[in-house]
Structures are given as structure tokens and as C-alpha cells.
């Protein structure tokens, strides 16, 4: 995903401790000493919400926060718009320190930059679906006609056209959740904070909404902080994933980094049930081709020699600009060599199937079953690598094992 590499959110050493004010410093000290959550709770009656979390989110990025129940995901996200005041640490949004804002400045930031979708919907029961969706705009002071228009658009986006004048309690849980989403979308904020925003949706609509969200993010370059319990959802949505345990961030990185290289046993246990082939891409299972032929310098004979040396029965051919233009089989090359031909073009097979580096590994398996040659991985026509069945299976089984055992 291309982004301008501008940091949108920066969180530095964020800590949130819940509990009686007088005992928080004590809890803080214990936390610094590395005492664990239960002991701190026992000794000081203070609960650790978030402990010393630091991360950044780039503009236009979807970051998914994962972790077991009670690991502090909601608390972390609530600190971002200061529904919860952090105990310690700094939060910058567009280089503005959120933690030091006055109430009025905070309201301005919430109004213009931060939309939120709540875990438990938090719809206003006395307002219709449309009035719910336009709430943020109403607060912004937008004219009734205009905000109605925007609310309608947002509701249509989430598939609730025709429900505008119903009340929330007439809607199913999934529909209510979509109203919550529409309410945030209607405001058109830079940043969307989504606390398990899709957890109440059935799998089909959920998948649709995920696609919708990805589309939206690509179109509008929203920055999205998404909390999820569901690893598959995280893998689908997240440019990066942050894993939390007992309030602390245990690992953050791309899905692949986390899956193939879990930092702790906790992470490994967390990810062990993932279908690894969905996460790995062509790029991560391909191997470097040992040799390529160019028609300008190689004839059938030298091509044949390459193949014999490497034990392949096909070789790919590229032109001067390194564009892959076809492949030659060992059989054809040896026949041409016997006939004394000098030209590779005449025996070259010009149409072949190829994939791009980001093709999921799961899609590669059926392709490989159908073709008699190694599958080339091309980027802009240039050879990045090839995939042969053996190497794919090896990669899958090895990665799978490493996350099982770790």
C-alpha cells in the first residue's frame, strides 16, 4: 500500500492505570519494576489498562490491534481520543499533543479528526437511524438539509438505504453496528477508531463490510485504528498488526512478520490456528531462478546447457530490457540444436501464466497443479522469482511448523 509516509498518530510510552488516585503512583512504580498485573492489583487495588505502549500509525494506514479480552485494546484506543485520560505518556495526532489539550481544543480535534465506532454500538435510542447518522454533523453545526444528505449517503454506503426513519431498537445487531459505522463515516474524519466494529455482523455482511472499508481507505486515505478479536479479519484488513497482552504491546508488524516470526510464545499461541497459506504471498515462497536465457546472446544449445546444469526442463527467456517474453523447454531446445538452428525465438513458447509478488500462497496451489512449467513471479514484466511445487509446499510446511512449535 502506497502512503506518503507521513506519521498520523504517534503514541509514546502510554500508560493507563485505573484505580484510586492516591495509589496510582505506587502502582506506577511497581509497574516500572516489572511487577505483573495481578500482583499490582492485589497490592494497590489498581488495574493496569495499558502499560508503556509506543507505536506510530502512518497516514492512510489500517492498523489492527489484537489481543485477548481484557488486554487493554479498548483502553488504548479510548486514550487516542481521550475518552480516557492517560496516566502517563504522550499521544500526537498530526504532531499535536493530544494529552495536553484544553477541553475546547480537544472538542475541536474530536469534531474534525476523530470518528469512533463503538464495541457496543452506543446508538441513541431516542433518535432515528438517520438522526443517529447525522449526530456528528449536527454537533459540527452543519445545516439540516446538508447533514441529512450526508447521513443518507453514509447510510447507503453501509447498506442501510430505506431504514433512515426507523428507530435503532427495530434493527438487528448487525444493522445497528452499521448505523454506528455510518455515524462515524458521515463526519468524514481523518482517523477512524473502530472498536470491534464488525463483531456483530454475520460472516457474509462482515466480509462485505471489510471490503467496503478497504475500498474506502484506498479511496479516501483514511487512517484507521481497528480493534479485532478475529485474526483472519486482522490479516485481511491490517497493513500492520499490534498484539497486546496485559496492557503491553508484545509485537507489532505486518501479518507475515508476526506469523512467521512470533516474538513470544503468547503471540505464537495466538496465531497458531491461522491458515498460513492465506497469509504468505508469492514473494515469500518463490525462489531465484538460477539462469535466464536472452535471445540476443543465447541459442538453443546454450539454453539446453543451462537447463541440464540446473536440472530444469524449462528456462525463461527475457529481452534486453529484462522483460520476460517466453520460455523454452528442454525438449524443444534439444530438437532445435540437433537441426542446427541458432534462433531461440522460433522455439519459444510465448504465452504463459504468471503471478505478481503479492498473490496469496493459497491461490498458487491450483495454478501450479495446472501448468507443466515453473510459475514465474513478475513485477512490471520483470522476473522476480519462480515458484515450483516443491518449494511452495516446503515453505508452507516449514512456516506452519515454526509457528506451531515456537
Amino acid at each position: 500500500m502506497e502512503s506518503e509516509n507521513k506519521i498520523k498518530i504517534r503514541v509514546e510510552n502510554l500508560t493507563k492505570i485505573f484505580g484510586p488516585k492516591s495509589r496510582i503512583p505506587e502502582a506506577q512504580q511497581l509497574l516500572e519494576k516489572g511487577e505483573n498485573k495481578e500482583n499490582i492489583l492485589k497490592k494497590t487495588k489498581c488495574g493496569i489498562g495499558v502499560s508503556n505502549a509506543s507505536f506510530t500509525v502512518m497516514e492512510g494506514e489500517i492498523i489492527v490491534i489484537m489481543g485477548l479480552s481484557g488486554s487493554g485494546k479498548s483502553t488504548l484506543v479510548r486514550c487516542l481520543n481521550r475518552l480516557i485520560d492517560p496516566t502517563e505518556g504522550k499521544i500526537f495526532i498530526d504532531d499535536e499533543d493530544i494529552t495536553t489539550l484544553s477541553p475546547n481544543e480537544l472538542r475541536r480535534v474530536r469534531l474534525t479528526k476523530l470518528g469512533m465506532v463503538f464495541q457496543n454500538f452506543a446508538l441513541f435510542p431516542h433518535r432515528t437511524v438517520c438522526q443517529n447518522a447525522e449526530y456528528g454533523l449536527e454537533i459540527q453545526g452543519m445545516a439540516p438539509e446538508e447533514r441529512r444528505q450526508k447521513a443518507f449517503t453514509a447510510l447507503e454506503q453501509v447498506g442501510l438505504k430505506g431504514w433512515e426513519n426507523h428507530y435503532p431498537h427495530n434493527l438487528s445487531g448487525g444493522m445497528q453496528q452499521r448505523v454506528g459505522l455510518a455515524r462515524a463515516l458521515a463526519m468524514d474524519p481523518d482517523i477512524l477508531l473502530m472498536d470491534e466494529a464488525f463483531s456483530a455482523l454475520d460472516p457474509l455482511i462482515r466480509s462485505d463490510m471489510q471490503d467496503e472499508l478497504i475500498g474506502l481507505q484506498q479511496q479516501l486515505q483514511k487512517t484507521i485504528v481497528f480493534i479485532s478479536h478475529d485474526l483472519d479479519e486482522a490479516l485481511k484488513l491490517g497493513d500492520r498488526i499490534i498484539l497486546m497482552k496485559d496492557g503491553a504491546i508484545v509485537q507489532s508488524g505486518t501479518a507475515e512478520e508476526i506469523l512467521t516470526n512470533p516474538a513470544t510464545e503468547y503471540v505464537a499461541r495466538f496465531v497458531e490456528n491461522v491458515d498460513i497459506s492465506k497469509v504468505l504471498t508469492a514473494e515469500s515462497v518463490m525462489i531465484k531462478p538460477k539462469a535466464m536465457a536472452s535471445p540476443e546472446v543465447h541459442g538453443p544449445k546454450s539454453a539446453l546447457r543451462f537447463m541440464q546444469k540446473e536440472g530444469f526442463s524449462q528456462i525463461f527467456v527475457h529481452d534486453k530490457k529484462k522483460q520476460v517474453i517466453g520460455l523454452v523447454s528442454a525438449d524443444a531446445a534439444s530438437e532445435a540444436a540437433q537441426r542446427g538452428e541458432k534462433d531461440l525465438f522460433s522455439i519459444m513458447q510465448k504465452d504463459f501464466i504468471h503471478v505478481t509478488p503479492d498473490t496469496p500462497a493459497a491461490d498458487l496451489i491450483p495454478i501450479l497443479a495446472d501448468i507443466p512449467y515453473p510459475l514465474p513471479v513478475l513485477e512490471n514484466g520483470k522476473m522476480k522469482g519462480i515458484i515450483i511445487r516443491g518449494s511452495l509446499l516446503a515453505a508452507l510446511s516449514e512456516r506452519g511448523r515454526s509457528s506451531d512449535n515456537a
Binding site: L83, R108, R110, L111, A122, H126, I139, Q140, R183
Partner: protein
Amino acid sequence: MPRIPLGEAIEASINFFVENFSFLTIAFTRIMEGVISFMENTLMLLHPLLFIVIVAALVFWLTRKRGLSLFSLAGLLLIWNMQLWDATVSTITLVLIATLTALVIGIPIGIVAALSSRVNRVVQPVLDVMQTMPAFVYLIPAIPFFGLGKVAAIFATVIFSMPPAIRLTCLGIQQVPKDLVECADAFGSSRWQKLFKLQLPMATPTIMAGVNQTVMLALSMVVIAAMIGARGLGGEVWRAIQRLQMGSGFEAGIAIVIVAIILDRVLQHLGSKKQ
């Protein structure tokens, strides 16, 4: 052990206020008496029959309940027939003024108490005192401030009937789910926006229950207030007690019940409709 002069202290402080401020309250009383008799006279201008039909129609328009509307019609006709019409109008006027005053003071106090725990800590014990203190006791200081008559009665009625308005307003606002308040915050609502767009609309059914109770308490107080010259239906009851006229005592009592039922059902309906 020496007796603690609690009563003396209270009396002394009330006397202090009477001596220094009663000229104000007495002036206020004169004005209020004018307002009250103006209202009464205006209502009396209508022919009772016309008045009754209007009330019945109004009840139907507000509640869409034919039974209640017919009950109002029949009940008020009975009151007219018992020749208690003037007393009833006078009582309704008194209840109306007392309730409005109690609500205008009580609802804002309830709101403030709900939003500020410090105010709440002061208000709650005061409410406890107001609600458990026998209603008669309010009548005593009402007299030096407002003289015998309707204004003193209204004063006592306001004090007596205000607590439910405060309590239930406070409760209604506190009962708004925390996650909704949080949501309103997350969308950048100001205090006022939060109050008017979320908290008050959601608390309306509870507040209406408080209004209902306030009206009922005001109505029950008018009988007691008759002791200091409020007249009206309470006056009729009071006179019947003094003369041991069982029949006319019950007649006035029935008239109060009729008025109470009509007001209660209409207000209940208005409260539940909002949900």
C-alpha cells in the same frame, strides 16, 4: 443534662429573616394575590359547561383515550352538580401555580445535581428533610412571610411537592447509559449539546414521572394548606371537618379524587408516549 435549644435556634433564625425580609415577601404576596385572582377570574369567565367540554376534548386530544375523556366529562359534571365548581377552579389554579413553580425550580436543580456530584451531596440530605418533615410544619413559617392566604399555601405546597421533581430529574439523567454519554463526548459534543440532545431527551420519561408525582403531591397539599386559608376544595373539606358534616366532606373529597385521576392519567400518558 441541659436541653439543647434547637427549636429556639430555628425560631430565632426564622424570626431574623422575618424581621429583615418580610417587607419583601409581603410585597411579593400582594402581587401574587393579584395574579392568582386574575387567573381564577379568567377561568371563571368561561361557563362551567363550556369549560368541562373543553377539558374533555383536551384530554382526548392529548391521550386519544375515549374512556378517560368520558370520565373527565362525567366527573367534572358531577363536581359542577355538587356545586363545588368555584372551589375546584380555585384549587386547580393553586395547584397549577404551585406545580409550575416547583418544576421551574426543581428541574434545573435536578439537572445540576445530576451533573455535579458536589451539588448532589448537598441536595440529597436537604431533599430527605423536605420529604420527611410533616407537611404541616411548613405552614408555620409560611404565615409570617406571606400572611394567611393563598400565597402562603402555594409556598408550602411548592416546598412539599418539589422533591420528586428534583429527585427524578436527577435520576433520569444519571440513568442515561454511560456509553452513550461517552459516545456524545467522542463526537465532540459540548456540555449543553450533550444535555439537550442526549441527556434530557432520554430522561424525559423519568422526569415526567417526577412531574406527575409533583402534581399529585401538590393536590394532596391543598387540603392541608386550607388550614392557612387556601380555600378551594381543601377549604370545603376543612369546613366539613370543623362542622362534622360527613356528607359535604366526602363530596369535596370525591371532587379532589376526580381532579387527581384526570391529571394523573393525562400526565402518565404524556410521560410514557415519549419512550
